[in-house]
Structures are given as structure tokens and as C-alpha cells.
Symmetry: C2
Subunit: 508 residues, 2 copies
């Protein structure tokens, strides 16, 4: 590993030969293609591929076809793999396909598997977006591209397409063999994908994953808005839905108020017993699964390039749970968290509707860290909620559903793939034509991420190779939230980083 201090003592020409294996013509191509790359991202954002909403299932298919044609255009052999169907409220809904791709079969080159997803979270203008979420809004004043999926995960996936286009059009051979596995259900539990991966791996020599040396996933974010990072850990997730029902239909609160057991009263009572305002999880045995940090471990968090001000800037409000930076970072990286997301079936509009909703479903999820798994956490949650519901003495009915989940993951960050990504992040600053090169002038932070990408663990376990998370977006991109954005500089420099990473891998 070369550090910035090494580089600063050597002369640029020498360094360019030794330490910047990505050809200048690739980097130039990327710079010159900025508008075209943004246009492609715009085309992608306009397809509202919301996997969690059956009404938009067709759009997820449309997005799959869009990406498959892009891959093919740049010489990638593809395969659209049907993943079966899912049952939603009694109806069978076909799952979007996984899109596989492969290019390069050179045994002297390393083989890198790229994973990404082309589905997005729901978004509506009425949620508080400044601009329509499914139209990419380019703001050159701030250098930002706003739109659902811009950063999570269409931008990063198109970053790889950008790399392919550049090599294809320049007639450059890729420095490694590439394999792609792109899915359309990531935001909805990656349904169908795990089974496919496990079955595919069993095919051995015939598997599209045969010969893969390492895996790279761009689907998370820098810790802050300054410092690139490499991520070697992810929290897991268990997402649950509590449905309380009783009346056969919504009731008028004047006519029925104080005559019947109201589902909302019961649901709110249960939801209030899951987490306290300090973030402590109230379900017995859950927080207790994770041992507290040693002083040494705490020191790691104290060193990261991050401050309480960063947290609050990213969140857009002075709402950090503590003034202790390490405590706040550990809350995200090494602690479980429980968030209450909302209620389906209750009144959610503007105005004042005097309804007693008949059937309400509270949604919440718990982020998991080792040794927690959905399998060891869910029974504690279900037992506790059933016991608390019984205490209410209500005649309403409670149903608890496990919507989806995934185990947490921690990787070896001293692997050559991580070292290659570290070098790629550092050397980018020596490309003279990039006005934005400054952003990468540092050694990346090594982080664990608070979110989940459950397939990371599936790949790691099924293929037995190292997985690297190499984020493109910044900490304030607002994935899953209103006004999600990707900085233009991150899209363009990130594209260069992905390409440069492949060259570094080829020399590792």
C-alpha cells in the first residue's frame, strides 16, 4: 500500500508511469462524455422501477431490458434469468429477472464480478421532493443530479456501463475479465436472487460465476462529503409488519368512538414499546446480543474522518443522539438500530379525517450486527410483541409478518482487492485533465456501513471470494429519502475510479 506521503515526495512523470495504470485516454474519454453519461442516467431515472410496488413491476422489467441492451451494446454477452414469482396479498407477481453479463475469458487476467441493482425505493412528489423524483434534475450551480435512484443504485451501475463504453469505443481491452450480476429486487429483499446464486454456483465450470477472483459492489456511500471510503462491513436487517385488525371496515370516530377496540390504539401501543427516543431497543435480549466495545475498538471510531457536524449536516438537522462522535458512529456501524417506518391503512393525507381505520399495519425494521441474524432475533421480537399485545386485553387481532431480512457481514480489508481500490483512490489525483481530481487526493477511510446489502453475504459465502464495497456517492446523497441526489463529480470521478480499480486489480 502506497500512502499520500510517499507520493508527495516523488516527481509526477515517474509516478504516472509507475502508479497510474489506467490509460489517460480512458480518463479523457470519461471527462469528455460527461453530458452523454448524465443523459444515460437521466434515461434510467425516468423508469420508475420501484420493486416494492406491484403497480410498478413492469417498470422494473423495463429497467432490466434497458441495462441488458446497454451491456450488449458494449460487447458484453448477457443472459436474462427469470427468478420465479412472489405472492403479494394472494396474487402471484412475476419477479424481475437478474441480468447476467460476461466479457473477457483470458486466463491470464483476474476475473471481477460486479453486482448492482436497478430497482429503486418508492418516491412521490408529495413526499416533499422539490422536483419530480422520476425525472433527473441537473443543477449545475451545486453540481448535483437529483432523482430517485440517481445514487442508489442506478448511478453506480451506469458507472460500470460508462467504463465499458469507454473501452469499447476506444478499442481498449479491459484489464480484467468482467462478470455482471444485476438485480431488480434489492429494495424488496432481493427475492429470488439467493436461490439463483446458490444454484448457479453449483454448476461449477458452467456457472457464469466460474473463475471469479473477487467481487466489487458499488451500492453504499462515503461516510462524509469529503473522503472516499472502502467498506468492509454491513449491518443485516429484519423488516417486520404488525397488522392489527378488528372492525370489518373503516369506521366513523363519532359513531364508534369508545364503543369498539380501535386497531390504531393497539398498534400504536405496541409500536411505542419497541424502541425508546434514545435509540435503545426495548425488546429484551436484542441489544444485549452485542458486546460493548473495547477501548481499542472505540479508538478506531474516534479516528475516522467524521464529526457530529457531519452527521447533522447529512441529516439536515441538529438531531445527533449524542455529542460523543465515537458513540454516534458506533450506533451506526457496530450497534443494532430499530426504526419505525410508518403505518399502512391509517389516514395519511392532509386535512382532518375522523376515521377509525379497520386494519392497520405498522412497519419497522431492525438493523443487525454480528452475532445477530434474522433467525436469532425474530423469535425474540415475535415473542415480545405477542406478550405485549396480550397485555392490552384487546379483541382485535394481531398478525406479525417477516417481510424480509439479511444477515450482517464483515470482510477482510487487507485483501489485494481492497489494496487495489485504495491505490486507485489515491492515484487518481495525478490525471492532469480532471478539474475535479481533488476529491480523491487522500487515502480512503475504511468503514463499516449501517445499511444492508444482503446479497453481499450470499456472494461471499457462495463464491468464497473477497467482496469489496466501493461506494460512488456521498454521505448526504439521501438514498431512500426525498431529493436523493448524486454529485456530478462523484458520477464522473467515480466512473474513473471504477475503471482505475480494474487496472490496479490487474496488477495486484
Amino acid at each position: 500500500m502506497r500512502s499520500i506521503s510517499d507520493l508527495s515526495q516523488a516527481s509526477p512523470p515517474f509516478l504516472c508511469t509507475l502508479k497510474m495504470p489506467a490509460p489517460a485516454q480512458f480518463l479523457d474519454f470519461v471527462d469528455k462524455s460527461k453530458d452523454a453519461f448524465i443523459q444515460r442516467l437521466s434515461d434510467a431515472v425516468e423508469i420508475p422501477s420501484i420493486s416494492g410496488d406491484p403497480k410498478h413491476r413492469e417498470d422494473v422489467f423495463k429497467m432490466a431490458a434497458f441495462l441488458e441492451s446497454q451491456l450488449q451494446a458494449y460487447g458484453v454477452e448477457t443472459k436474462s434469468v427469470p427468478l420465479g414469482s412472489q405472492n403479494i396479498d394472494g396474487e402471484e407477481l412475476t419477479l424481475p429477472p437478474a441480468i447476467l453479463g460476461r466479457i473477457g475469458h483470458d486466463k491470464n487476467k483476474k476475473t471481477v464480478l460486479i453486482y448492482g441493482h436497478f430497482d429503486v425505493q418508492p418516491a412521490e412528489l408529495s413526499d416533499g421532493w422539490t422536483n419530480p423524483p422520476f425525472k433527473l434534475t441537473r443543477d449545475d450551480a451545486t453540481g448535483r443530479l437529483y432523482g430517485r435512484g440517481s445514487s442508489d443504485d442506478k448511478g453506480p451501475v451506469l458507472g460500470w456501463i460508462n467504463v465499458l463504453e469507454a473501452h469499447h469505443k476506444l478499442g481498449l481491452a479491459l484489464p480484467v475479465n468482467l462478470r455482471f450480476c444485476l438485480e431488480g429486487m434489492e429494495e424488496s429483499g432481493s427475492e429470488g436472487l439467493d436461490e439463483f446464486i446458490l444454484a448457479e454456483v453449483k454448476k461449477g465450470r458452467d456457472s457464469w460465476f466460474d473463475g471469479v477472483d473477487c467481487i466489487c459492489i458499488s451500492d453504499n456511500y462515503w461516510l462524509n462529503n469529503r473522503t472516499p471510503c472502502l467498506t468492509y462491513g454491513l449491518r443485516g436487517l429484519t423488516y417486520l409488519k404488525l397488522t392489527v385488525s378488528g372492525p370489518g371496515k373503516d369506521l366513523h370516530s363519532g359513531v364508534f368512538g369508545r364503543m369498539v377496540h380501535e386497531p390504531m390504539t393497539d398498534l400504536i401501543a405496541i409500536m411505542s414499546k419497541l424502541v425508546d427516543p434514545s435509540g435503545k431497543i426495548l425488546i429484551p435480549g436484542v441489544d444485549e446480543m452485542v458486546p460493548g466495545p473495547t477501548p481499542e475498538e472505540k479508538a478506531i471510531y474516534e479516528k475516522l474522518d467524521y464529526s457530529i457536524a457531519d452527521v447533522e449536516d447529512s441529516a439536515g438537522g441538529k438531531v445527533a443522539l449524542s455529542a460523543d462522535k465515537a458513540a454516534v458512529l458506533m450506533g451506526r456501524m457496530r450497534s443494532p438500530s430499530l426504526s419505525l417506518h410508518g403505518i399502512e391503512g391509517a389516514f395519511y393525507g392532509q386535512g382532518a379525517k375522523t376515521v377509525i381505520p379497520a386494519k392497520v399495519s405498522g412497519k419497522f425494521s431492525i438493523r443487525l450486527v454480528p452475532p445477530m441474524t434474522p433467525d436469532n432475533v425474530n423469535p425474540l421480537v415475535i415473542k415480545y410483541i405477542q406478550a405485549e399485545f396480550a397485555k392490552l386485553g384487546s379483541k382485535n387481532k394481531l398478525v406479525i409478518e417477516d417481510l424480509h431480512g439479511g444477515k450482517p457481514w464483515v470482510e477482510n480489508h487487507k485483501h489485494w482487492s481492497y489494496e487495489a481500490a485504495k491505490r486507485a483512490t489515491e492515484v487518481r489525483t495525478f490525471h492532469p485533465n480532471s478539474p475535479l481530481a481533488l476529491i480523491y487526493k487522500q487515502t480512503p477511510d475504511l468503514t463499516r456501513e449501517g445499511g444492508s446489502i444482503p446479497v453481499t453475504l450470499t456472494f461471499a459465502e457462495a463464491l468464497g471470494v473477497n467482496v469489496l464495497l466501493l461506494p460512488m456517492g456521498r454521505g448526504d446523497d439521501g438514498a431512500h429519502s426525498t431529493n436523493e441526489k448524486l454529485d456530478i463529480s462523484n458520477f464522473i470521478e467515480g466512473t474513473k475510479l471504477l475503471g482505475t480499480y480494474l487496472y490496479e486489480v490487474s496488477q495486484a
Copy 2:
């Protein structure tokens, strides 16, 4: 007051002369106009006049114009009265007009003021409606008309239009002078109406309400599905909105979970402290305002034609708070109630969105009975919620808004207007041409209603005359809920009842 037992001992021809002042040709006209009347209701339901949703404000205006033209068509002089504007999230929105009407200036006749409203509650197919809510669905098998506003309150308002049409087309003089005051903001706090009524009354001889002897409002429901009723009491209401905010935008729960104070956690904590699952209001001093019933008062409730099975049939589920009929009825009629309606700003869709909502507003309301008023209840609620919020130790912000409210009302039910309505309900069974006449073969129950029609009290206080609530719909109509309906028989027989009531008033 004549009872059914008196009538059963007399011969029909004699009774028809003595006790059925409504002319047979009026009743026949109503029977023969069934399809046309239903078509008019269908036209009205198709106008989604949701007063609580700014997007539908134009439809409320459209509905006002629809009714004004109907009144004019049948000889009623009208006036559309602008009621100013309201401020919604910083934007001024013009209020729908009140539609005034007058027909008849005969000093030898009594003058009856009719109030009704032409706005409706929100409704979306996705709430669980079987058919589109803004299309009247006629089901001749069950004899029902489904649609938002069918029973609350377009059906009853059109009942009066039906009466006017019959008299106009038959060339019959109305037995009383009629005055109309129809509004378009009833479901949103009757904004602007109180001020107008008070100002109008002050005009004395020039007031459209000059000379009014009594007021009749058809905007509530039978207690059950069998027995018509006259209603002499209403609960009041205070509707509150609690907004908790902190982050500047919605956040990803993976990235921010356990780093920041989550508005949903705080809001749910507060909402859980308002009411318990047995219906008891947890805000100190609120339930305590209402003295418990004397044994004598409890006996009134035990005598009403109502059972726990009725409650549960209407509610569509076995969810009555108690097996004690009187206790359940008192819960509705003489007790306050607190209902949690929903949350604005949180995730409400299908699927599993892992969002930390940035700003969430909990909506709840308290139904009030004497001596409670918004003025004496709100301070208790606000003080309690602020104190409970302070205990949470959250950095988020809390704002409490009073969306609307109204005082409770109790009327003298021995007044001649009530006696007239009672007789009209009883004698209808002697019209030989109505196959549906059976439903009115009884003395109506005298009830107090759990809902609020705040303008009732305004009229009672401003005009100083008796107000009668004469419901058209049944206890299972589902006002404010999914699949709201009005029975065809109630619409047609109800139209006859309204007309007959006017004849009984003319003889009182």
C-alpha cells in the same frame, strides 16, 4: 303524540284523512321517481368534493354550483355566499361558498330552515373500497347505493331537492316556507360558516334566516339498521395534529439508524400516551370532566333498541369494548372518546421502505360531551403532550395544531318540531303504494349521537330556535369509511319522511 297502538285500532280511511297530511300524489311521485332520484345522487357522488384536500377544492365549488342550479330549477331563490379564504401551509385557498335558498314568504305558514353539506371525506379505491368511491354503485340485490357522500351528506341533501322537485312538478304549494343553508366545509371544520351565520343573523329583517321557526338537519344515522330515530344531542370535537420534525429530509434507516433522534419514535411515544386500549383517555382531567351516570340515566340507555350484536354488526367485527349494552351506548353518547386517525409524512404504502421520515404529523381527535368544550379541553391536552414530549429528551421539535373543533349540543326533544317528526315517522306506514313502508312502522328512538355537526350549536345559539336532527341513513352506512352506502329504501322513504315532516310541522 300518537302511538302505533292508537293507530292499529282505527280504520285506514279515517286515519288517512286525520293523520297523513302529506298528499298521496306527493308520495306517489316519489315512488315513481326512484330511478331519476338515484341518477341525481349518482351525478352528485361523481363530483369528488373533498373539502380537506386542496387538490379537490375546485370540485367543492362544482358541487356548490350543482346544488344551486337544482334549487333554482324548482323555484328556490338562491344566493352563493363567499366565505373568504383559508391558509394551508402558507397558501391562501378560497373557501367554498355557502349556498342559501328561500322559497315561500307566507306569514301564515311556519318557516323551516334546512341545513346540509355538500363536501365529503377523502376516499381512495386503495383504502379498500370494493368499487370506485366517486362513482355511485347501485346494487339492486341488496338495495344499496355505494359511494362517498351517498349517506354523508349528499343523499339527505338531495332528499330535500326531491321534495322540492315533487312539489314543483305537481304544482303543489309547500306546506311551510323553506330556507336553505348548504355548506361545503363541514368535513373540515365548517370554516367560515359560523362567522357568516352570526353576521347574517345580525341583519334582522334583511337576514335570509329572518322568521325561521325551527331548523332541521339530516346529517346523522339511525342507531341500528331497523329503527328510525330523532336525535337531540351531539358530541363536540377537537381535532389536533402533532408534528414532530428534526432531520432536514427523509433518511435511510441503514445510514442513520441509531445516530439521530427519529421523529417517528417520538411521535409514536406521544400518541401511545393519549388513550388506552379500553378507550380510557389518559390525558389527566379529560375523562374526569364528565360525571358518571345516575342509575336512572343508565336505564335510558338500557331501553334503547340496540344490542351489542348491533354494534358489532355495524362495525363488522366482534370488537365491542364491553358486553354491557348500556356501557357501550354511553361510551358513544355520553362519554368523550379519543381516536388516533393516522400519521401524515410517514411511509404508508405497501412493501418495505426503510425510511426514517423527517417530519411526521399524528392526527387524533377527542369527541366531547357537556361540559367539555374545545376551549376547556385543548389546554389540558396541550399541556400534557408538551410535558410528555419534554420527558423524551429528544432534540426533535414538536408543534401542536388545533385543526378544528366544535362544542357538544343537547336539545329539548319535547318541542313541536320533534313531535312533528315523530308523527311523520309513524304515519308513513299508511301510504298503501309503498312496498318499503314497513321500515317506518314504529315510534322513532330518541338518541344522542356520537358524532359532531358543530354548526348545529351555532344555529341553535344564533337563531335561538329548536334544532331537530332527522337522519336518513342507517347505522351501518359507513360514513367516513370505505364502502359508504345509502339504502335505496332509506333514500326513497327518507324523501317521503322529509316531505311528511313538513306537513306535520304545518299542523303543529
